[in-house]
């Protein structure tokens, strides 16, 4: 029997063994139900209803808002706007180009919205989840329509009432709803990636310890090369991970699409594929590390201690990715997206928020997979040296020499 068939045989055994565990299947189903329930909560509570509780001005104290104006803002206009969004600092701007520059600026020159009196309100893509720009622009539009009503000639009241808000217009390429959705995806994607990588690293180490602890491994290595054994195990657990992730999230996503499909902007779906892709790449990298380390110990209680180096790398990568969300176009984010241990997180963030070139994504994935392949050789040698030594924990150097 050749290598691929043997590896596949080993992998399918791993899959069957996990699926046989009632605890594993039960926990997955319960989690899936929980997630689906969470996903349907907004629809049930009416959060998506336009007249629902999420609308209406909030009473939070707002800092002085920089408001760009092309043309003149009347006293009434300003009074009504300030009544709606708090104190504003008026920044005169010459034309739409200047408005765009001011809206897209970072730092203190930035304006939250630009008013073209009597015409429209301009705003910019939201730079962060906590930015109030788009929401403020909507309220400013409503306020200006109201101001127009106050100044209006009684003959025009009907016309003004028919238009309860000045149109709010997006300057720049990303629609605010999509920007919000992308930010949410970046946060959720990075956190999700971290959670599943940690979970499957732990599952791998326990799988290795099970074979070592029950000593069945001696029978196995007498029959198949250790490398095949390791590859089959990692492949099998990877398939389990993929199936479990699908089971966990598909029902919840379906519920979201059905209840709020119109709110999910186009183009966001492709990011789901990116998350799945980076899960595969990140799994390949961290799985070989976990397998190599797992072969050093024989008892489950030692698993977490020996896994520490892998955990440090995973947590480090996660933190780097999390930081990159705030500065997705910075040199830091770009560099991090090519360092194998942070690449799955950082490149996912860039793909979500900064639109890197396709070759950058491909290069980053290749670098990470190349590192995984190089580490496979190291891990397989440690695995070979460690897997037959039951009892006390094996030192890394001993396993290396014995491998």
């Amino acid at each position: 029997m050749n290598a691929p068939r043997t590896v596949w045989l080993i992998a399918t055994r791993e899959v069957r063994q996990r699926l046989r565990s009632r605890l594993f299947v039960g926990a997955t189903v319960i989690l899936s139900v929980l997630l689906t329930t969470l996903a349907s909560l907004p629809a049930v509570l009416g959060v998506f209803d336009p007249a629902g509780p999420s609308e209406g001005p909030d009473d939070e104290e707002v800092e002085t808002l920089r408001l760009g104006v092309i043309g003149e803002l009347t006293g009434t206009d300003r009074a009504v706007v300030e009544a709606a969004v708090g104190a504003v600092e008026v920044v005169p701007l010459s034309d739409v180009e200047a408005a765009r520059a001011a809206l897209e600026a970072t730092g203190p020159e930035r304006v939250t919205a630009v008013v073209v009196p009597g015409e429209r309100v301009l705003t910019a893509p939201s730079p962060s989840l906590f930015d109030l720009g788009p929401a403020a622009a909507g309220r400013i539009g409503e306020a200006l329509a109201l101001a127009e009503l106050l100044d209006a000639d009684p003959d025009r009241v009907g016309e003004v009432l028919a238009r309860p808000s000045l149109p709010v217009e997006q300057v720049g390429e990303v629609a605010p709803a999509e920007a919000q959705a992308r930010l949410a995806i970046a946060y959720v994607g990075v956190a999700f990636l971290f959670a599943v990588l940690i979970m499957y690293a732990s599952m791998i180490i326990n799988g290795v310890i099970e074979e070592k602890g029950s000593r069945v491994v001696e029978l196995l290595v007498a029959t198949v090369p250790v490398r095949w054994l390791m590859t089959g195990k990692l492949l099998g657990l990877g398939i389990v991970g993929f199936l479990q992730t699908l089971t966990l999230f598909t029902p919840a996503l379906l519920v979201l699409v059905v209840t709020a499909g119109d709110r999910i902007p186009a183009g966001v779906g492709g990011l789901g594929v990116a998350i799945a892709g980076w899960f595969v790449v990140g799994y390949a990298l961290y799985a070989v590390i976990a397998a190599g380390l797992g072969s050093l110990v024989s008892r489950p209680e030692e698993a977490q201690a020996v896994l520490t180096p892998a955990n440090v790398l995973m947590i480090g990568g996660y933190l780097v990715g999390f930081l990159a969300i705030n500065v997705p176009t910075s040199a830091f984010a770009v560099a991090a997206s090519f360092v194998p241990f942070s690449a799955p997180y950082a490149m996912l963030v860039r793909q979500t928020l900064a639109d890197p070139a396709w070759w950058e994504v491909a290069l980053s994935a290749l670098l990470t997979l190349g590192t995984a392949a190089a580490l496979t050789v190291v891990a397989a040698r440690i695995y070979e040296g460690g897997i037959l030594r039951t009892g006390a924990r094996v030192r890394l150097s001993e396993a290396w020499r014995a491998g």
């Binding site: 043997t6 063994q17 069945v216 001696e218 029959t223 039951t390």
Partner: protein, 299 residues
Amino acid sequence: MLVLDQLERSFGGVVALAGLDLRVAPGELCGFVGPNGAGKTTAMRCAVGVTTPDAGTVTWDGAVIDLERRRRIGYMPEERGLYPRMPVLEQLVYLARLHGLSAAAAAANAAAWIERLGLADRADSAVEELSLGNQQRVQLAAALVHDPALPLLGEPVSGLDPLAVDVMAEVLLERARAGVAVVFSSHQLELVEGLCETVAVVNAGRVVLRGDVRSLQRTGDRRLRVEVAGHAMWWTSLPPGTEVVARRDGEVTVALADGVDPAEVIAVARRAGALLHVRLEQPRLSELFRDAVDQRVGR
């Protein structure tokens, strides 16, 4: 022909194999015995490729044991181990397929072995739910399920009840008669004596005694067992070439080197008192074993 040639292996300064040589011919049922720590397990591990020797080679029919050949070995590790949560039948099918059998052949063989070893009603139980003895039976089945061309069994009888031992003995003889070389290690020397044609005694990493069990018994020091009435310590003045190797319930066992006349010893005993019984025997395997491994005997 399985050939272990000048195997050497040490683990951090502890020598496990110190130039071990062993040849096992097709159709030979070879008992592999030795005290604890003699190197039996390491030698077997080298043969299946689980351990790499520091020096020396392992060949089978003149070729290095590659993957294809390893698949045809039926290995039963002395350190027992199976997947605890995997059902018996499924586990045997899996192991048979890992050894290269097709799915259908693996299923047929696994079912046949389960039947033969009396595990039919436990086929779908997880291994961890079985009694220790039944787990041992499964372990034996795991070593034989792919019809190995070279069974290498570490302590296959330990933990087995007499019925299972009978089945195992029958199976091993059957394999040997079919022209297969069978090696099994055991501490149960009576079993090895009754079952094996040949034996290899290992001590301190070397084979110290090797050959046909019957001819070894012929060439080994004969044993004279004598019991004399009374309490005289007659055995303290024996002729040269003799040695007292056991005393039990008044019976004294004397090993006689080549050329020593038993009558000389009997004469000494008679002077001490009436002879209750006298028996001249070939040595038992356990006695040959002790002679071979006992440093004081100087072999």
